[in-house]
Symmetry: C2
Subunit: 351 residues, 2 copies
Amino acid sequence: MIGLILAGGIGSRFWPVSRRRRPKQLLDLLGGGSLLAVTARRIEPLCGPDGIWVCTTEELASAVASELPELPPSRILGEPSGRNTAPAIGWAVRSMPEEVREGVIAVFPSDHWVADEEAFREALRRGAAAAVEGAHDVVTVGIAPAWAETGYGYVELAAPPVEGGVERVERFTEKPDPETAARFKASGRHFWNAGIFLFRGRVLLDLYGRHLPELAAGLERLAAEDGDAERRCALYADLESVSIDYGLMEKLSSIGCVVADCGWNDLGSWGSLAEALPADGDGNRTVGDTVAVDARDNLLFADGGTVAAIGVEGLAVVRTGDAVLVVPRERAQDVRRIVDRLRALGRRDLL
Amino acid sequence: MIGLILAGGIGSRFWPVSRRRRPKQLLDLLGGGSLLAVTARRIEPLCGPDGIWVCTTEELASAVASELPELPPSRILGEPSGRNTAPAIGWAVRSMPEEVREGVIAVFPSDHWVADEEAFREALRRGAAAAVEGAHDVVTVGIAPAWAETGYGYVELAAPPVEGGVERVERFTEKPDPETAARFKASGRHFWNAGIFLFRGRVLLDLYGRHLPELAAGLERLAAEDGDAERRCALYADLESVSIDYGLMEKLSSIGCVVADCGWNDLGSWGSLAEALPADGDGNRTVGDTVAVDARDNLLFADGGTVAAIGVEGLAVVRTGDAVLVVPRERAQDVRRIVDRLRALGRRDLL
């Protein structure tokens, strides 16, 4: 199995720790190394050291290379500009040698937390086997909802369930409202969409040709062009900016799903990071040097320096070298609005 | 009038900005200079440049001297160790030359905010005149309560009121509970005790002799000792540690009070600092580089770096070089508990 790690984003909801040149996937948010390095280590038993590829931006390629020193530069693919997941995945797959594309490729975001890594890999092995057999065009990974999360997309599986095998996805659903999320959690047939896809590379490019013909043609033009960086850059910028979920997955009639019972979290915000950290007796989760007095259920994150809290509840308090953020944990999604405000204020020093 | 500024404390409720060697009175919390320098400027029109004395600790004397470069070192009195207000004031007065002690001395804490400085000085002039006349042993300053504060002591004035003159204090009361504070605010006869006292120096020492005879004797022993620093240090450490309110004021039968209508705040905590700062349209009060999105009634204080808040209400968020504090504004008194915890943890780096 080939593992393709997507590492091109910024993760602006992790401001102030994440920045343009120090994006989320390069941060050590949970201890044990950067999220990217942890992701690579997690999949290496599946892919082997020679089976890992990373798709990032040209700007971040050297930082990725330092983070994964054993990865040869030829397997770090730097997008000329950040587009969206459909062009990025298509371009990365098209950039691989033809014999690699013949095999099964698994696409992984670089910002996931997994509690039971062996259970996670076991599900992927089942998924890869199904992708080889060709019973489904694409196989996704579903996670049994641990709570009624409104920030994730879900997959609804077709009845009846398939014991220990590969299920069929009935439909994808977008982020639900709280009532729908509660119904999904109770249904037993709705699973968090982990954003992980398995497919044969050749099959994926065929699917692009059928469902995203313009994007597929753009990828072929890019593949034919070699040498002129400016021209490549222009061609890349012309690719349709669409997510693989909307652009492709929702159009496919045969999508498989392997259910992984592994403890999973997409680390999408300070709120979900908190869920992945162990709580102390007062429900506080802490990273770095922190002091809490009469404070409950907070995330206290000190990237250097000390964070002290007294008498507060349910907050995320994040300190980094030059900035502090305070936000209720349940509103951690809104941190983007701070980043938007800083951008509007021209505060590139903080971005 | 002689102005004696008390500048020996630490102000631990202003942690993390206040520290052992950088106490509250040396901080520029409101802009316009350190609280000590602002206090000296405020009283200079009353006392003249030659009439200002400062009582601090030996440890802080050089920092005080840098803060008030025009003050000759002989008028900076450094306590061998920090005791309490009764020994500090008594010792400072006893240390002044006899001809200075003949006149009226006004004692000022170094951490007050005053909105209308001329109204403040006008009240003090009335108080000084009363102290000269000798109608009262000591004259205090009362402030009409702007809100039902539970963190201040109050003076209750005797009926009937004296128009524009010097009232008589019926009794001092300690910090009231919320109901009592509301009653005090409504009564028209209860005023915040500003902790400012006016007296003739000679009279004060007589009162010490009568009501605090042991302390008075200790002060005389200290005055007789000159030269041996170790001996002075030991004598000073032996002085009774009692506040001037409990040790003296509550025992006196004739205390005057001048009411000052000047806008006043004792800057005792981040909560009261917030009250002294102008609010923006969302009720936020800010110092330094701050960003607030959908946040109301917070104090955002950035002593360097940036403080960003989203979706929070009624908090004090304070950032300094090495530490961040988050506390509800209404619980700002409890910041001491963080300092106590740090002391218990042996974190002198943060004290």
